[in-house]
């Protein structure tokens, strides 16, 4: 049961995007009786539609609209038009994510205070902390049915995990396990349990992994308070003479423009599209874009420092069998500056199928050094580095007026250069990851460069002081009361953890805030 709302209905909350931020916010508001129109640029795909073939799935789900890149990151050279691997579909990147659901460590909410002055970094403390977020994390873990929380058992360990764990143990690490995963380890929440099929990145055909596409979205629609408008690509947010936003102009599947009036607008289009939309909404009243009096819209783009390590062994591993992210080692996630950098990193198992391994193992490489590694694909184990990268004002999303998308709108240019802290941390992580595999008999290890980003964070950051960021502690614009940011772009800093659980927790909290403010007549 969907609820069709009129374009002229200015009592609705318009949520732009239906992923971890927007999808959850839309459902949570609908559950509280708030009427919501969710605009989703992509189409709707459900488990029966997902394709367990890497390139074919990429064509089905990935956001492939044009973007440009600059900066010294290798992605700008190897994948100049594809800075991110994220999804354009109902459910957003929750269709693609691997399911790792980790809370921030307490100190990570206070990065500036904890890490001190880091030259060239625009570190800031979040205006919220671990204590405040704890109950929202509880709700998020329940919603996602995270393993090793709420009495859920952990997932069983795959071959890839067993190699990883043996290496961790050999190095004396203590804190490693099969992860806190938003993947059912038992059948519940009306979802099947994990069948260890692989292809978590391509959408879970069992529905065992949480995705808003087949949980929050239909739950919200069932209330009659949520209408999801598919293939509705937001072009700009408009405002009235009072400076408040009053609606969103979007293009439908045929390219025709419509304006959905709104009482509140919440932006959740990922850290490229959200700032791009605010910048593309510039007006005579807001010549630098919406919510940009600080000049911070688009700045402080973070992506986790990332990188992978693959180990080649003399016997088969078959890492593709089972969950893509099959385990985690957390001993290096702490803040310990004696390692030569601030912040920390997680190591998490990862596998790619042969087609994507060929594309991502060493982009641009050719010849026998490359092919002799691929020849050992069956004998490879893999892990991914997820570390806190430093926010930098100059790492930013801007409008590229020389390149326009299918609707004639300037595209996002994504500029990123590593901070010295990022490089030091990545080198440390490569060394430790290679040592883990060496310890269990690897004959060759491959420190693999970062892929196009999936953890895109920080381009509309949250700040106590309106001068320092774009939104306040509720994700509410410092400049415009009825404009919210609901995705990872509101992150003040990135922490070392995969961001989805925190995005979900913030969205649940934001929905609570918005509904209370609506009831109180403040919005």
């Amino acid at each position: 049961m969907t609820a069709p709302f009129e374009l002229s209905d200015d009592s609705v909350v318009v949520v732009i995007g239906t992923g971890a931020g927007g999808g959850v916010l839309a459902n949570e508001l609908a559950q509280k009786g708030v009427k919501v129109v969710a605009l989703e640029a992509g189409g709707r795909y459900l488990p029966e539609d997902y394709i367990n073939d890497e390139w074919e799935s990429f064509g089905q789900l990935a956001w492939l609209d044009p973007r440009t890149t600059s900066g010294d990151w290798r992605v700008a050279k190897d994948f100049s038009g594809l800075p991110a691997w994220i999804v354009k579909a109902v459910g957003g990147t929750t269709t693609h994510w691997a399911g790792a659901s980790l809370r921030f460590q307490d100190h990570e909410w206070k990065a500036a205070t904890t890490y001190g002055n880091v030259q060239g970094a625009s570190l800031l403390d979040w205006p919220i902390d671990a204590e405040e977020m704890a109950p929202w994390y509880d709700l998020a873990e329940k919603k996602l049915n995270v393993t090793r929380t709420n009495g859920n058992p952990g997932l069983p360990g795959s071959n890839n995990y067993k190699v990883f764990a043996a290496g961790a143990k050999a190095l004396g690490y203590e804190n490693f396990h099969t992860g806190r995963m938003a993947i059912n380890s038992t059948e519940n929440h009306d979802r099947l349990m994990c069948q260890q099929t692989g292809f978590c990145f391509q959408g879970c055909k069992w529905g065992a992994k949480w995705s808003s596409a087949y949980t929050d979205i239909p739950e919200g629609e069932a209330t009659g308070n949520l209408e999801v408008r598919e293939k509705a690509h937001a072009l700009r947010i408009e405002h009235g003479p009072d400076g408040k936003v009053n609606g969103v102009v979007y293009a439908d599947a045929d390219g025709n423009e419509h304006k959905q009036m709104a009482r509140i607008v919440a932006v959740a289009g990922n850290s490229f599209e959200s700032p791009r939309l605010l910048l593309n909404s510039a007006s005579s009243m807001y010549p630098d874009g919406l919510s940009n009096s600080s000049g911070q819209v688009g700045r402080n783009y973070m992506r986790h420092l990332t990188g992978s390590v693959y180990g080649v062994f003399d016997k088969p591993v078959k890492m593709w069998r089972g969950t893509t992210m099959a385990g985690i080692m957390q001993d290096e996630a702490k803040h310990d500056p004696s390692r030569g950098f601030v912040g920390g990193y997680e190591l998490e198992t990862l596998s790619l199928g042969l087609p994507f391994m060929a594309a991502f193992l060493d982009p641009g490489a050719w010849g026998r050094e490359f092919t002799s590694a691929l020849d050992q694909y069956e004998n490879m184990a893999g892990m991914w580095i997820v570390g806190e990268d430093m926010p930098q004002e100059t790492n930013r999303v801007t409008l590229n007026h020389d390149v326009t998308d299918q609707f004639g709108m300037p595209v996002a240019n994504v500029h990123y250069s590593d901070h010295a802290n990022d490089r030091a941390m990545r080198e440390h992580a490569y060394k430790q990851g290679q040592a883990m595999y060496d310890a269990v008999g690897a004959t060759r290890t491959l420190p693999t460069p970062p892929y196009p980003s999936t953890h895109n964070l920080g381009t509309n950051r949250m700040s106590e002081n309106p001068r320092d960021g774009v939104v306040n502690r509720w994700g509410q614009s410092h400049d415009i009361d009825n404009l919210f940011v609901s995705d990872g772009s509101q992150f003040t800093t990135g922490a070392a953890e995969n961001p989805t659980l925190t995005i979900v927790a913030l969205a649940i909290r934001q929905a609570d805030h918005i509904s209370r403010e609506l009831s109180a007549g403040n919005l």
Partner: protein, 175 residues
């Protein structure tokens, strides 16, 4: 359309083509031993010079050499260049390769007997648009062929078989 020259087994290339087309078999052509399915080759021969195509197949193997992958998969990987839209640019790129080979005292790229020497030549032109186009195309053109996956041990999708929960996701025995 096709040149008539002696093939490795004493047949003319035209005869080889005719035989392959008739028999639906793979066949041998050019200075390298290029195995192709008949239909693919017969179509290709209409657009690209056989020597150029043989050079292209050798180039593909030199870029991504896998000794256990037969030529036919390399043929499939580059057959998309044998179209009216692509053929001129591709022939020009092949001629660049051959000119570079002549500059090194060989008759053509295919006359360079050792992979080591071909790779050395390729390193000198690897930044060219032609090389990068061929290399980039091979990433999907070669490795996304389901036919080559078993050579690497890769099993592809498993959903249709119920995943690996009861089929060896944790069967590692050597640790």
């Amino acid at each position: 359309m096709t040149k008539t020259i002696a093939g490795p087994r004493g047949l003319t290339r035209r005869q080889l083509l005719a035989r392959a087309t008739a028999a639906g078999a793979s066949f041998v052509v050019g200075a390298g031993y290029v195995a192709a399915t008949d239909a693919a080759w017969a179509t290709e021969m209409n657009a690209m010079k056989p020597d150029s195509f043989a050079t292209l197949v050798q180039l593909a193997r030199d870029i991504y050499p896998h000794d256990r992958i037969p030529d036919e998969n390399y043929v499939v990987a580059v057959k998309g260049y044998d179209t009216p839209q692509e053929v001129d640019a591709t022939e020009a790129g092949i001629e660049m390769l051959n000119a570079a080979a002549r500059g090194r005292g060989y008759g053509s790229y295919l006359d360079i007997g050792w992979e080591r020497d071909r790779v050395d030549l390729l390193r000198s032109i690897e930044d060219s648009d032609f090389f990068q186009k061929i290399r980039g195309g091979l990433v999907t053109g070669l490795y996304n062929q389901k036919a080559v996956w078993p050579i690497f041990g890769y099993e592809g999708e498993s959903f249709s078989q119920g995943g690996y929960l009861y089929r060896g996701f944790d069967d590692i025995a050597w640790l």
